[in-house]
Amino acid sequence: MSSPTSIVDLNDASLLARLQDLVAASPVPEAAISEVLQVLQKARGYIDGDALRLAASLTGLSPVRVEELCTFYSLVLREPVGTHVLRICDSIACHMAGAQDILTQARQHSGVDLGEVSRSGKLTVIPHVCIGLCDRAPALMVDDQALGPVDTQTLTRLLAQLEADIWKPS
């Protein structure tokens, strides 16, 4: 889930229509919340306060309920991120396979704290719960693509490609 190059306005008619369709197609309005959040995040890069309130009013949930979901699901972003998001699994299988080293290396490369946008603007590193790739631990996700196992060299190469904007999902 990389950041969009242009941010769609929340009043954009086609965006609103799309969101309303999702709500209409759902058996109860509340049930559409995760899809609504996905679409909003695609369009705006992350869920800002206004997007959160829009999602709440479309689905009839209170803003607090929407924030509960946003903070529970680690794929939902509540802060702006870099061009690419690197989610490094730190759950148990990956932890045992050296996830901490991978995480430290990626964070050092980004030059900022976890979750922050690197100075180059290209990268945000986030620790993440198990992504279901335990058999290929340590695993990570670059935007929507899962990769593993990752070692220091592959990570160095990956980071270089991301910085040079030449990384392509396979």
Partner: protein, 765 residues
């Protein structure tokens, strides 16, 4: 049949449907099973894993296993054990896990000494933390003036969010995050919006949520003087436990009363108590505005009464005995007496009393068809809480009101002008909103519905199935007690006597006839005929400021008394502490204590009204007759004195029946073109509560609330007793054609809810 299971070989009785932990707690065996996430009113969750017990099967095929007591339904003959090593280890290790991130700050934590986590930690024997990594820490939120948050102390039992979202159905509090970064709070900093937010302090088993008002004048709880009391801030009469220290009241906690408030209180009940410590509270007698001595003010009053030209005015804000004491004195002197300040309020009280037995809040919570008339949360919040509990069980709620209140958003809302409420209520018997239920309940805010509306409510009830019930609520603790001796036309006779100059002095108890009480406009026009007014009260008011003599009285937690709640339930309260008052040396006979040194600390604060009335009776040589009458009235209304620790006693139906024959209240007609008045209140507002700073800081702005289609910045309302100018507050939730103002506004205008009103709008520039 008696049902029992066995815990460590001891018989534990249970009611089918209970879980093992619930039954064990009810049997007083909570020493054996530590627990966190279970709460008697919130149920089981199985989140903390603390309540382990070992279950032995009846056969030899199944080995014994450890299971959670809060999730295990109690069943006959169940064999459970906690006294084995593996159960102990489980208890100790779970608490060690829960304590992983807990700060070592018991010595500076407000919860210390009443902390469930502290108790359980000691009980299970966990004392050494093996984890040596960094602790997870949070940034705390500012949740407003009532509740303090220290998130690092959380053990994720989820009680707070289950209370706030599920039980209180509040929308501005939630649980955020996942894994070991879960936190509980608001979307952003700001005051909690629920009228029940203070219960977080009691449901949280740790020091995350603590009482922010108590914090200003904190003492350790083992140093508190506590006792059984009853909330004086509305007609529900929730049971409370005030806590005091060194002669001042520090906090109010809930006292469990299943029939009424269960485990909870509203924020008015919990946070209005600083009325007793407010700087404005009168603590010493005042004569013509000057502080004076007890005997001086009594002598003055006695000579007034000896003239035989006094009238007596009681109050639904004062307790039953004090009102009866005043009534008895009036009786001895053959003087006119009224319990309420206007004929409208008198009719209202009579119609409230004429309703058949009202449902308890416990019964409201079990209703399946509910009609609420008016803004119930703003008058009697815990009644609104009971409605929410019924909603959770699938009850159908219909709200008739002139504004889309929070409760209206949870059910079917019928927007109605106040004058239309009465007609709608009259037709409810055939209304689909009450059809098909087992147990229909109608709950009205008495003032919005008015006397004729309450009459219509009673007539509707007669047409509904016999088990249908109705209750009417006011924000006074004792309307139902004060009104029992208010016969038809009492108030009118009192005012008539004043008009005809038969009396020239008024002795008032807990009333504010020149300020915000109903009919104050009329009293103000009559005031010039008064040579003097004497007031016995515990709060500063317009009347207190203009009284010739002001006699301070003990606040409710400082004395014993009786309140009659909306059900006609007579509840007793006990003195919890003695107020200490600073008395100026000049006011203490023979004291040479220098004023410059701060005066003399008088060990005893103002005495209760009955003390003053008794002394007066003595001075008038009427004591015996007065006492006899007082005892007789008290025995008549309340033959059996209720125990403050018990559920109270209900007034007999025979007394209630007296009021069914009261005059049928007149109905007012309002044309659709006319502006109509409704009353605006908020959950924290009430005469005493308005002097409590922290709670009052949350009060909505004063103004005239009206639908936004009116383009005006201000307006002047014209009433028979005067004009009132107020800023306009546009309120999208309101019905068009309705103007909502506070009670003070009504008093100034001399009008009542549902009355038409003349308005001059000041247009936007």
């Amino acid at each position: 049949m008696k049902h029992v299971f066995f815990l460590d070989g001891q018989e534990i009785p249970f009611i089918p449907g209970q879980n093992v932990l619930e039954a064990a707690i009810a049997a007083g065996k909570n020493q054996q099973i530590p627990y966190f996430c279970f709460h008697p009113a919130l149920g089981s969750l199985g989140a903390c894993r603390q309540c382990a017990v070992k279950m032995y099967a009846h056969d030899s095929k199944h080995p014994p296993r450890i299971t959670m007591a809060c999730l295990l339904p109690a069943s006959d003959g169940l064999q459970l054990v906690t006294l084995e090593d593996d159960v102990h280890t489980e208890h100790r290790e779970i608490i060690e896990l829960l304590m992983t991130n807990h700060p070592l700050d018991c010595p500076v934590c407000d919860e210390g000494g009443q902390c469930h986590l502290q108790d359980m930690t000691v009980q299970t024997g966990h004392s050494v933390r093996h984890y040596s990594g960094p602790k997870r820490t949070y940034r705390n939120q500012d949740l407003g003036p009532l509740v303090y948050q220290e998130m690092n102390r959380c053990i994720t039992c989820y009680r707070c969010v289950r209370f706030y979202q599920d039980a209180a159905q509040g929308e501005d509090f939630g649980v955020f995050g996942s894994r070991n970064r879960v936190s509980f709070g608001r979307l952003e900093d700001g005051p909690l919006e629920s009228p029940f937010s203070g219960n977080l302090v009691e449901v949280c088993p740790t020091g995350v949520f603590t009482d922010k008002v108590f914090r200003h004048d904190y003492v350790r709880v083992w140093d508190l003087q506590q006792g059984p009391s009853v909330c004086p801030h509305c007609a529900v009469g929730c049971n409370t436990t005030p806590g005091a220290r060194l002669g001042t009241l520090r906090r109010i906690r809930n006292r469990i009363r299943p029939e009424i408030n269960g485990h909870f209180l509203c924020d008015r009940g919990r946070y209005a108590f600083p009325y007793v410590t407010a700087n404005s509270r009168p603590l010493q007698p005042r004569l013509m505005g000057e502080t004076t001595r007890q005997d001086a003010v009594l002598r003055q009053l006695a000579s007034r009464l000896e003239e035989g030209r006094s009238g007596f005015l009681g109050s639904p804000r004062e307790d039953l005995q004090s009102n009866l004491g005043l009534f008895a004195l009036a009786d001895c002197l053959h003087a006119p007496f009224a319990a309420v300040t206007s004929s409208w309020a008198e009719a209202l009280a009579q119609q409230c009393l004429a309703l058949p037995q009202a449902p308890s809040l416990q019964e409201v919570a079990a209703a399946d068809r509910i009609v609420v008339i008016g803004d119930l949360d703003s008058i009697a919040p815990m009644a609104g809480f009971a409605v929410r509990q019924a909603l959770r069980q699938g009850a159908r709620l219909t709200v008739l009101a002139s504004s889309r209140t929070e409760l209206a958003q949870k059910g079917d809302y019928r927007p109605l002008r106040p004058s239309a409420l009465r007609d709608q209520v009259a037709q409810l018997a055939d209304d689909p909103c009450l059809q098909g239920g087992r147990f229909p309940v109608l709950l009205a805010t008495a003032e919005t519905l008015g006397p004729s509306g309450l009459y219509a409510l009673r007539k509707t009830l007669e047409k509904l199935p016999a088990n249908a019930r109705a209750g009417a609520f006011v924000n006074r603790p004792n309307l139902f007690g004060a009104a029992y001796f208010a016969a038809d036309g009492h108030t009118e006779r009192l005012q008539q006597a004043l008009r005809q100059r038969k009396i020239n002095h008024l002795l008032c108890l807990g009333a504010d006839p020149l300020g915000e009480d109903w009919g104050a406009g009329t009293w103000r026009t009559l005031a010039p005929g008064l040579d003097g007014l004497t007031l016995l009260d515990m709060v500063d008011s317009e009347t207190a400021r203009s009284a010739e003599a002001l006699i301070p009285v003990a606040a409710f937690p400082e004395r014993a008394g009786l309140f009659v709640n909306y059900e006609g339930r007579i509840q007793a309260f006990s003195p919890v502490y003695r107020r200490e008052a600073l008395v100026l040396h000049s006011a203490v006979q023979g004291s040479g204590f220098p004023e410059a040194a701060g005066g003399l600390k008088h060990p005893i604060g103002p005495p209760p009204p009955l003390f003053w009335l008794g002394r007066l009776a003595e001075m008038l040589h009427l004591h015996e007759a007065w006492q006899k009458r007082l005892d007789f009235y008290l025995h008549f209304l309340c033959p059996e004195r209720p125990d403050p620790e018990g559920p109270g006693v209900l007034l007999p139906d025979t007394i209630r029946a007296r009021f069914e024959i009261a005059a049928v209240p007149a109905t007012r007609t309002v044309t659709p073109e006319q502006w109509e008045l409704d009353i605006f209140r908020w959950y924290g507002g009430e005469t005493l509560a308005d002097t409590a700073d922290e709670l009052h800081s949350l009060a909505p702005a004063r103004g005239l609330r009206v639908h936004p289609d009116v383009q005006a910045v201000a307006a002047t309302l014209h009433g028979p007793c005067g004009d009132l100018q107020l800023p306009v507050i546009a309120c999208a939730e309101m019905v068009q054609g309705v103007i909502a103002i506070d009670q003070e506004g009504f008093a100034e205008l001399g009008l009542y809810p549902g009355d038409p009103v003349e308005v001059s709008w000041e247009q936007r520039q």
